[in-house]
Symmetry: C2
Subunit: 429 residues, 2 copies
């Protein structure tokens, strides 16, 4: 039986406790990860090969696959699978393409012109998890915005399979992205390699992508150790479903389980407007769980989850905004008026026929999203994540007359005489 | 005599060494800062009062000033100063206002609609340095985009003066921003207070603003310890000036000194197309330095800086892009064709009459910018920094037919059966 809370009975503190994620700071693995980082930094490629042997059980002669090998692997997947990856590619491309915008120049005073221009981050590193769960969809979600942004160098790292290769789906996505090299490095060592560079692997400016706790820890550590930045802090995946009487309990259950199968630390939360709905959804969860291949994982995750019963949809939205879910599904006929009430969430799925899995793969939106409450201050990955916006300004003679004395007064009141001089000397000329 | 390098004589490694900032990771102060953070977290207001006594030499009865006290302090500044702050406010507002944009909906397939909506970060914390250097301009640079974004709660912290108050310029900026409370807390303890919340000070979702090494260290630490995010990593301020024969050496020198007076760790770099220019600029630097009130600071900073002589403007831009300066000033008649060549920089100042100090105070652009090479992957603060972009999607019956099998195939090939089910169960219905 799932833990069920009545919203009206919860104190502020109890709500706070429910919305707090148990974000394990992983201090236990910090030393291990730091050691890996140092080893890669000082020894380079040789360290990467030795880790491949130790962790991936494979002897690598070289640390990458080139165009020919990628083509060969890509050709092993079925026509239908190719077609599905192509459709996903097209939809993701179509949606992300609209995110690059030229901004207009603002003349803040006569002769004082200011504007922003977009520039790609030159070198980006994409980490694609491998091993048991191979995620070609993640390669599309990171590679497409990097391509649209115009990044000059896209470095892709993924752990090798036992045979020293990668799987055909990932290879096919590389082809779609016109990336002709993939580095066979996984885990914390991949993050370290892209942060410092090795003989084979180029140093990058920003590292993207999900991963296990070692990858996550390495990303957070290199952020403090180097001048390399990261996409966002990562935690276990999560969904919050809001449902009312109009919902189909079987759909709701399917969505909760889709989240739960990711791993035992996933959270699937249902906020609904009656105990009846909760009961019906739970019955469906039990039924659908039985036939899942990843039943064991999903069952444990479901045990970590909970239901909240509210009086109405407004209360449900209030709870959701406090929780700030990575994924929010609104399974109600009344989804339209709720849109403006969504204040904190990564990605929102509207109505009965919009499952999260559509957005995970193919609808066009990105699936790299803020977890663990970070949706309060972070956005998901987009083309914005792969560019900088640089401000430019030009001041004419007229502009200098207009703005000069203002700058002089402000520099003076802050006690910065040389700042004032930089204007005065120009005014005099 | 300033260190001067001939670009063509430099090896790749020497260039790399020149563009590397000596970013001190401040591990020396880490324990002190961690102790302050823990004290504030566990003891709250009492700890803040005790630090005020210790660091700011003041006994505080309450930890904030309210509307009445702010009004009174604001009325002590001159009419001219008020007017200058108002003009800066207007220009900054005008420029930042254009950064909030509605995005259009994309129908990636018939019946599959995706879009992004902007939501303010609900609670933001602004740190305004105080003590010897009081920076009302920083309050405008952070407060204005927060207001435009629509942040619900704007918490401002600044260290108290000896008299337990703040200065009148900061007070006047608070009035312009319609913020009616300021917390009298400085240093690492202010960052900790906004990250955890105390009896008086609200916990926020994101912390902004520059500060000394303790503030900077605290910001980087709370990023790993809490669910609170920060604007960007901070380092000493820096300018890179590109100049050719068309430059006025006196203007160039004034700009280098304006940077140098910030502190002894500031970097002022000149990249110019002849040794003659370097010589003339240096003579001007020595002359102008003599009369500066902050001469001692500026002199030391200038000693840390260097000149690079290149063959032409293209080489100068190449060096600048490797350095990735916080501020870049192009003091040449030929600034127009250089715009597209700027790949890495925080903010760019074009031509002979556009000093950095205009952008520091009043032209409209933001002065909170990436330092220490972070301009390779970070943008300066803007309205974007105070909002999230949330993706929404809606799939109709037609849309589900269009996209369903693609999602099913992709979920299956990633081995995620429950993800597939979430679509299949809806298709069947």
């Amino acid at each position: 039986m799932l833990k069920t809370y009545q919203y009206k009975d919860l104190t502020k503190e109890q709500i706070q406790e429910l919305v707090n994620r148990n974000t394990d700071p992983n201090n236990a693995i910090q030393d291990t990860v730091l050691q890996i980082i140092n080893e890669v930094k000082t020894v380079g490629d040789a360290a990467l090969k030795s880790y491949a042997k130790q962790f991936d059980k494979v002897d690598l002669e070289k640390l990458y696959l080139g165009q020919e090998e990628i083509d060969e692997l890509a050709s092993t997947i079925s026509r239908d699978q190719m077609r599905a990856l192509e459709i996903a590619f097209q939809n993701i491309y179509k949606f992300h393409q609209t995110q690059l915008k030229r901004e207009r120049t603002v003349e803040t005073m006569p002769g004082v012109k200011c504007w922003r221009e977009v520039r790609p981050i030159e070198k980006v590193g994409l980490y694609i998890p491998g091993g048991s769960a191979v995620l070609p969809s993640t390669l599309l979600m990171l590679g497409i915005p990097a391509r649209i942004a115009g990044c000059r160098e896209i470095v892709v790292c993924s752990p090798p399979q036992n045979n020293g290769k990668i799987n055909g789906f990932v290879a096919y996505c590389l082809k779609l992205l016109q990336i002709n090299k993939i580095y066979l490095v996984g885990g914390a060592q991949a993050v370290a390699a892209m942060a410092y560079g090795t003989e084979s692997i180029p140093k990058v400016n920003k590292i993207f992508g999900p991963g296990n706790q070692f990858v996550t820890k390495a990303k957070s550590l290199i952020q403090g150790l180097t001048d390399v930045s990261i996409d966002m802090p990562a935690g276990p995946s999560e969904v919050l479903v809001i449902a009312d009487d109009t919902c189909n309990p079987a759909f709701v259950a399917a969505d909760l389980l889709a989240q739960a199968e990711h791993g035992i630390d996933s959270q699937s939360i249902l906020v609904c407007t009656s105990a009846e709905i909760a009961k019906n959804v739970e019955a469906e969860v039990e039924k659908q769980l039985e036939v899942l291949p990843r039943k064991e994982l999903a069952e444990k995750a479901i045990q970590n989850s909970y239901f909240v019963i509210t009086e109405n949809l407004q209360e449900a939205m209030d709870f959701s905004n406090l929780y700030a879910p990575e994924h929010l599904i609104l399974e109600t006929d009344e989804w339209k008026p709720l849109i403006n009430k969504v204040l904190n969430a990564g990605s929102v799925f509207l109505g009965h026929l919009t499952p999260e899995s559509a957005g995970d793969y193919a609808s066009g939106t990105n699936h790299t999203l803020p977890t663990s409450g970070f949706a309060r201050s972070y956005s998901g990955v987009s083309v914005d994540s792969f560019v900088k916006k640089i401000t430019f300004q030009h001041i004419s003679e007229e502009g200098l007359q207009q703005i000069g004395s203002t700058v002089e007064i402000l520099a003076e009141l802050e006690g910065l005489q040389a700042h004032k001089n930089a204007v005065s000397i120009r005014k005099k000329d």
